[in-house]
């Protein structure tokens, strides 16, 4: 065994060896190409997603408006009882003045369809706001109804045969006449942010959903932030190593992985049926979201507490502070930036959660923003879900716009979190 050496001579320069080497390097390049392909695919899909949403959604950020002069005759609207006035006739007269040639009930009805269904109520509200116009005229910009909004934005092609589109040739002529008179404008759609939900796409907005989401997140924050920090401080700093704390830790990790719809079932069975809290209320939504966010907050708080160096604790204890004082006065304030960052990211996740909110009824059709925590409301993601389910063509653009607003809020929250992390977090 002593002097037996391997004497297999390998000719590295042979044709065979070179071919083998080429093969091996080709395999290396192939794997690299697969990796690049996979990443390009993922990025490409993300790009397609964002581009389609932006392409369908941007049109909902402007709204076709029609400027109409309404003559408020004192016969139709009595100054002492404005709400009972015949505003339907006011609208009909206004359209009649614009198109004197239109005769007959059917035609007049077709003509009125250019304006949104709620025009008469808008005129009524304007008169209530300023009763001095009775007897005179008032000029309002009224949203065009969905088909004409689509027509104006080019979604409905004029080249289609008449029976295949939702506006007939006569209506297009009327609309073009209004356009030629300069009565059609497409300003920024403030209604998207100021109106609540509506059956008519041109009037539907996100105000109710934004307020509902705000209330739900507020409740979620008020519950999960203090409870999460207290739990994390206990587990990280005080808890003895025993079965109970082990059980709590296992529980927290498992809760983080429970499907969100199960939390919805919990909310339905416990908060709604057992405690009898009101359905669709942001309070209940916030409580369910708080239970879902709690594991996230506990985990990030523990990480932030761990990153505070022991020397801080030892210095405080050495100066005679009690354990509570050490943590409350020194460790926790130093960990706070990390905790805040994690909390904001947790809240951003909660903002996007939909399934649990569906189960506790936050997908109701509600036409006014909630006035409080106990009033029925929707939230941003559930509003997106409701609109996505609506058959009207105009809701496709609204849904995409709603998603863009939701993504905008998420980006904002994450940006705040990143800003906080960069500005406040210390490295030791």
């Amino acid at each position: 065994m002593t002097d037996s050496t391997m004497t297999v001579s390998v000719d590295w320069t042979s044709e065979e060896g070179a071919a083998r080497r080429r093969r091996r390097h080709a395999a290396d390049r192939r794997l690299r190409a697969y990796g690049i392909g996979a990443i390009s695919l993922a990025i490409g899909l993300l790009a397609i997603l964002i581009v389609t949403l932006a392409a369908t959604g941007y049109k909902a950020f402007v709204q076709t408006m029609v400027r109409v002069d309404f003559t408020i005759s004192a016969d139709l609207v009595k100054a002492d009882n404005i709400p009972a006035g015949n505003f339907r006739a006011v609208v009909a007269n206004a359209m009649g003045t614009l198109f004197p040639e239109v005769e007959g009930r059917a035609e007049e009805r077709e003509l009125k369809r250019i304006l949104t269904n709620n025009t008469q109520f808008m005129v009524r509200d304007a008169v209530i706001a300023d009763p001095s116009v009775i007897g005179g005229t008032i000029t309002l910009r009224v949203p065009a109804s969905d088909p004409f909004d689509q027509l104006n934005k080019g979604e409905i092609s004029r080249d289609l045969p008449e029976d295949q589109r939702r506006v007939n040739d006569q209506q297009i002529t009327w609309f073009d006449k209004l356009d030629a008179e300069g009565r059609i404008t497409t300003p920024f759609n403030w209604g998207l942010f100021l109106n609540a939900d509506s059956r008519f796409p041109e009037l539907a907005g996100l105000a109710g959903a934004i307020v509902g989401s705000f209330y739900a997140l507020l409740v979620c924050f008020l519950i999960s932030f203090p409870v999460g920090i207290a739990a994390a401080v206990y587990l990280e700093e005080f808890a003895p190593k025993n079965r109970l704390t082990d059980l709590i830790e296992v529980n927290i990790n498992n809760l983080a992985a429970v499907p969100s719809v199960v939390f919805g079932l919990l909310g339905l069975a416990v908060f709604l049926n057992f405690f009898g809290l009101p359905r669709s209320a942001p309070l209940v939504g916030g409580m369910v979201l708080a239970l879902m966010t709690l594991p996230t907050i506990i985990i990030v708080t523990r990480a932030a507490l761990k990153s505070v160096p022991p020397s801080i604790r030892e210095a405080a204890l050495g100066m005679g502070a009690s354990k509570h004082q050490t943590i409350m006065h020194h460790v926790l304030p130093l960990a706070l930036p990390g905790i805040l960052t994690g909390t904001i990211i947790g809240l951003a996740q909660a903002l996007g959660e939909t399934a649990p909110l569906l189960l506790i009824g936050m997908n109701a059709f509600i036409t006014s923003p909630p006035g409080g925590l106990m009033e029925a409301s929707t939230a941003l993601p559930t509003q997106v879900f409701i609109w996505a389910d609506s058959p009207e063509r105009g809701f496709v653009a609204r849904t995409s716009a709603g998603i863009l607003v939701l993504l905008g809020f998420l980006i904002l929250m994450n940006a705040i979190a990143i800003f906080l992390r960069q500005r406040l977090e210390r490295t030791w």
């Binding site: 091996r24 899909l45 369908t56 739990a231 996505a388």
Partner: protein, 458 residues
């Protein structure tokens, strides 16, 4: 009233804090050294005033409804409650409450009318009684707590003990949540299995969750065999995993072995964006773009694709899961000791050989764990399938057919339906129980695999 009571409690606790602190400040500078700082005296009094009152109010609010309901039923004339079933009594109560709230659909009977007036009166009394009781309790507590303050009183230790107690309570919230989930699922599922046998639910091949509207209705008797739902769930989750696993894994391989820091710093945030998009957005994307595209492609080939095919839902779910798999595989690959990788490269292996022959085998348990975690996500994912998958349970493994999933059924069975006695709504809880058990087992298994593997190298 509840809100005002809570505000009152907060206000009085603040008052108590200042009262206690003022008294504590008087101890400073005397002959005997004060044990605790004045603010601890204040906090001690505030805690004594605030916490019992909050607990009282919470218990009061929780019990008030039930107590009033029972008293109301007791006040009804015996002729109405004699021999009435539980659901009948519940009906009376909801009628009384509707009348009291002014939601009158038909002319109520005089008894109900009277009971509604009683109800309104009692509610008013109960509200004021709560406020009065809470205030009385706080005043008593304030007097007692103040009486206990002395120079040598260990206020800080007392306050710290209360704080520790609060922290222990907060950390048990996680356990309470788990107990709440399990209890509510088990309880409602048990009520479901009283009406539908477990064996039919688990092994039945027909899922038509309807209830009879009339006794004599022939159709719509309802069938609760969940196997087609399970098959649909597995089909969609499988498609999702088939999309996500290769893309995620190759992404991780590229990031670990081939990418430089600059590329990594670009790709990682993009993956995080992919993970951060709400699922309702993916659902809309599936409906708006992916499903029509697949349908178009199918009609090009002459295949009829269902408008809500399993392929569209599963494919989009796969996109959602890519970042999970890539980041978990990334962690697993990085956890392989550097010496193994360097050794392989030093022997002349190419990077691909190092990856496939050394790193991947070593990281396999971690990657498997990650895939299992992702699978549990796919099974529990709700919004994508609610929007993009079908509602009808068909027993098929054809990816271009429409199938339904457990989560879709849970949501559709419970949306807009508050009736809680029918097997239709209770079935959702039985499905939820199955979902919870399956995802929990997958998680436990995945964590077990990952942990076992980690011990090997550390």
């Amino acid at each position: 009233m509840f809100g005002y009571t809570v505000l009152l409690i907060i206000a009085l606790s603040l008052v108590a804090f200042y009262v206690g602190r003022a008294q504590g400040a008087a101890f400073v500078g005397g002959d005997v050294k004060s044990h605790s700082l004045p603010s601890y005296h204040g906090a001690f009094v505030a805690v004594w005033v605030g916490i019992p009152a909050i607990v009282l109010v919470l218990i009061w609010v929780a019990l008030q409804g039930t107590v009033i309901d029972q008293a109301l039923l007791g006040s009804l004339p015996a002729s109405m409650t004699e021999g009435a079933s539980v659901s009948q009594l519940r009906l009376f109560l909801s009628e009384i409450k509707n009348v009291a709230a002014g939601r009158i659909f038909s002319e109520p009977t005089p008894e109900i009318q009277a009971a509604a007036e009683t109800y309104i009166r009692w509610q008013g009394i109960a509200r004021w009684a709560m406020l009065v009781a809470a205030t009385a309790l706080m005043v008593i507590a304030l007097v007692i707590a103040r009486g206990r303050l002395t120079t040598r009183f260990r206020a800080r230790n007392n306050v710290e003990r209360v704080m520790s107690g609060l922290m222990v309570f907060c950390s048990t919230v996680a356990i309470l949540t788990t107990i709440g989930i399990i209890a509510s699922l088990l309880f409602e599922a048990y009520r479901f299995f009283e009406q539908v046998p477990v064996t039919e639910f688990l092994f039945g091949l027909n899922w038509e969750p309807q209830i009879r509207l009339r006794e004599d209705q022939i159709a719509g008797a309802g069938a609760f065999g969940a196997v087609p739902v399970f098959v649909g769930t597995i089909l969609i989750a499988t498609i999702a995993m088939l999309v996500a696993t290769p893309i995620g894994l190759f992404t991780a391989i590229f990031l670990v072995e081939y990418a430089n820091d600059r590329v990594r710093n670009i790709i990682k945030p993009i993956m995080e964006i992919l993970a951060g998009i709400p699922t309702v957005v993916y659902g809309f994307f599936a409906v708006l773009t992916v499903a029509p595209a697949i349908r178009e492609f199918g009609s090009l080939l002459g295949i009829a694709v269902s408008p809500n095919s399993a392929l569209a839902a599963g494919g989009v779910m796969g996109i959602m899961i890519i970042p999970f798999i890539s980041s978990l595989s990334d962690d697993a690959l990085k956890a392989v000791p550097r010496a193994m990788r360097d050794g392989s490269l030093a022997l002349g292996a190419t990077r691909s050989e190092t990856m496939t022959k050394v790193l991947l085998p070593a990281a396999l348990p971690g990657i498997m764990g990650g895939i299992l975690l992702a699978l549990s996500r796919a099974i529990g994912e709700t919004m994508i399938v609610v929007m993009a998958a079908g509602l009808i349970a068909t027993m098929t493994i054809n990816p271009i057919d429409s199938v339904t999933t457990v989560t879709v059924q849970i949501v559709t069975l419970l949306i807009g339906d508050t009736e809680f006695d029918s097997p239709k709504t209770l079935a959702a809880f039985a499905l939820g129980l199955v979902l919870f058990i399956v995802t929990l087992s997958l998680n436990v298994l995945a964590l077990h695999i990952v942990r076992k593997y980690r011990e090997q190298y550390e």
